[in-house]
Subunit: 388 residues, 2 copies
């Protein structure tokens, strides 16, 4: 563990089939007015909405609803939530859904508790939130890891910027993780989440320090667990054991555990964020489309790590091959894995086709300083074209 680090994660996780039974006791810790935040109503279809309303009533709480949170939540939606919290003196927010709902709630929490413009103060100028409205999550989609970290990604449509922040004090107070609530997801959504969690791990794994370290070993273990269980989930989406492994993998992929002593890259996420500021692309699918060409582009700058990845994660047989051949075979296997589970590995299939807009994306991408190679805009243009 070459680089010094600080680690703390206070989110309480309730995991499994009985996880929701803990909600009532958790709610006792907070005031009387609860905001129920959710997306487009899928929680009503699976009966979760009625169950939650019943629990709130039994706990004697008033409920304020904040619904219609969209994928890639917008700054406008966050402002709507902030107004709702202020008008109703909300004491606690329960985010029910996936990363978009949770990220939106984090922005609402910091934006409503502090007397500032949330976008300028927290997302543009990175001031650490002094106060928060406490919040918990109930996860129905898996992949972003937002249920156990202080990260939040919001899209400001006015200025076409999708950007993320990470504040250690914006972790959920608790998260309820029942794999069964993810059964109703479409295969597209499930696979997109799997690509997202794989990318989270790779963004941390493919970065210094690269000496023998615990974080990389845990990363490899998580990636192998994801690959093995993803195939089972695609075959049988109601395999509880596989869905539960995938759910916990996703949480651990981004709760900062495997970031300990790692600088982190995050360039694939940077590029994808800019793509989805221009196109309506599902995050995980965008990552799957960019990753292979990005990693082929930077492979020479971190060759020994790509060799390790190929051998340890994808069981590439190194015999009689050069390091470069081994590394490339690993990236080929990664692309093959994405394809096999049904992910889109071409940007063109996601509707991203306009070369002029590609150039604009390349020029507006945030460039990671933690990557094996610090990219130029021209580099990003090549990567984007190779991803078409």
């Amino acid at each position: 563990m070459q680089f010094d680090f600080t680690f703390q994660n206070y989110t309480k996780i309730y995991f499994g089939k009985t996880a929701l039974s803990n909600l009532k006791d958790e709610l006792k810790k907070y005031g009387n007015t609860i905001m129920l935040a959710y997306g487009k109503g899928s929680i009503k279809k699976i009966g979760l909405y009625d169950e939650l309303i019943k629990i709130f009533k039994e706990a004697g709480k008033n409920v304020v609803e904040f619904s219609g949170i969209m994928p890639n939540p917008t700054a406008a939606k966050v402002r709507e939530g902030i107004n709702l919290v202020r008008e109703n003196n909300v004491d606690f927010i329960l985010a029910v859904g996936g990363g978009s709902t949770i990220d939106c709630v984090k922005a609402v929490s910091m934006g409503s508790a502090n007397d500032v413009d949330f976008w300028e103060h927290f997302y543009m100028n990175y001031n650490i939130p002094e106060k928060k409205i406490p919040f918990g999550t109930l996860l129905t989609m898996v992949g972003t890891g937002s249920e156990m970290n202080g990260g939040s990604v919001v899209t400001n449509e006015d200025v076409k910027i999708k950007t993320g922040v990470v504040y250690p004090n914006m972790m959920p107070d608790f998260s309820i993780l029942n794999p069964e609530y993810t059964y109703s997801l479409s295969k597209f959504q499930m696979v997109s989440g799997i690509c997202d969690m794989m990318s989270h791990i790779m963004e941390q794994y493919f970065s210094v320090s690269d000496e023998d370290n615990v974080s990389d070993d845990l990363s490899e273990a998580l990636m192998k667990n994801i690959i093995r269980n993803a195939y089972i989930c695609v075959e049988n989406p109601q395999d509880y054991n596989a869905r539960s492994n995938i759910m916990w993998d996703a949480t651990l992929a981004l709760n900062t555990l495997i970031a300990c002593s790692k600088k982190g890259d995050w360039e694939v996420h940077n590029i994808e964020h800019q793509i989805s500021a221009f196109y309506d692309v599902t995050h995980g699918m965008g990552l799957a489309a960019i990753s292979p060409s990005y990693y082929r582009f930077i492979m020479d700058y971190g060759l020994s790590k790509f060799k390790k990845f190929a051998i340890n994660v994808f069981n590439v047989n190194p015999e009689g091959k050069t390091d470069k051949e081994i590394g490339l075979e690993g990236i080929d296997k990664l692309e093959e894995f994405f394809k096999n589970i049904g992910a889109t590995t071409k940007l063109s299939e996601l509707g991203v086709t306009n070369p002029e807009e590609l150039d604009k994306i390349a020029e507006t991408c945030y460039v990671s300083q933690g990557a094996y190679k610090v990219l130029t805009a021209d580099d990003i243009k090549v990567i984007l074209r190779n991803s078409l």
Copy 2:
């Protein structure tokens, strides 16, 4: 992840060469009177004592000293600490040392903050502590994992009982982990710690649920990291990278991460605890001496897991071998590893020789209900004799 679980760990970790620089800011959160708890003065030899006194002074704190905490801390020593806290109105305790010092401080924290007899109330009758005196740790020995969990083991010499408790609210508020502070440890102490952390992982790994699960995969990654880095540490105790990996492995081995969805065995620890109630045995060495014969004894009851262990952790080649041969070869490799790094793998070498006392130990051992085989006293007698 077949079994439902709850996970929360709030301890803040400062890790690395500059970790101590965070102490001053941490102390600002607490009142004026700090108790400095430590062992037999090795912190004076390495200059840490002077450094800490300087930091306390700069932070404007009064210091109360609580020194002479012994390996296997006694109930009598805990009572001494409780009296010191009460007499001096201590606001915060800093435990500097290894697991013994930290475990003692946890007992002092709960015992002094609550108006009860600490031994009867917390260690015999398992009442969750309502209050605590806040405390942090600065680790100079590695192995117990006490720096990031709510566990505490205390020995009551009057009744010859060494017993452990785990309370989720008795985790340290922060822990300072600088691998360099462990350089001055003797090889015996270093190796003992390595045996301890390996045992912690195996106690969790060798238990249900045994389906494909994330916790077992992380356990295997940690065990392989320990084995690889232990050899480097023994060769060159000042190899920062290896010592830092071992230090972080030990913390993650017992911060409840790899316990998620696992029942846990802990029978090796149960037996060792009773041995050290009778003999002055170093904990890690006692574990190393018992583990091989214990695992050989229970192997048939969890054979597929022992096969997995042999292949995944010790690279046993399974070709042309029965499952039992593979499993036994894995346990042989474990014993070989302990021997190679200089651990004692025979109880007789630790001074445990009296057959009559062995029987008494066997009859007074706490028997785990989470093990592959629930042992009888006669089973434990066989295991102890095979460990001589």
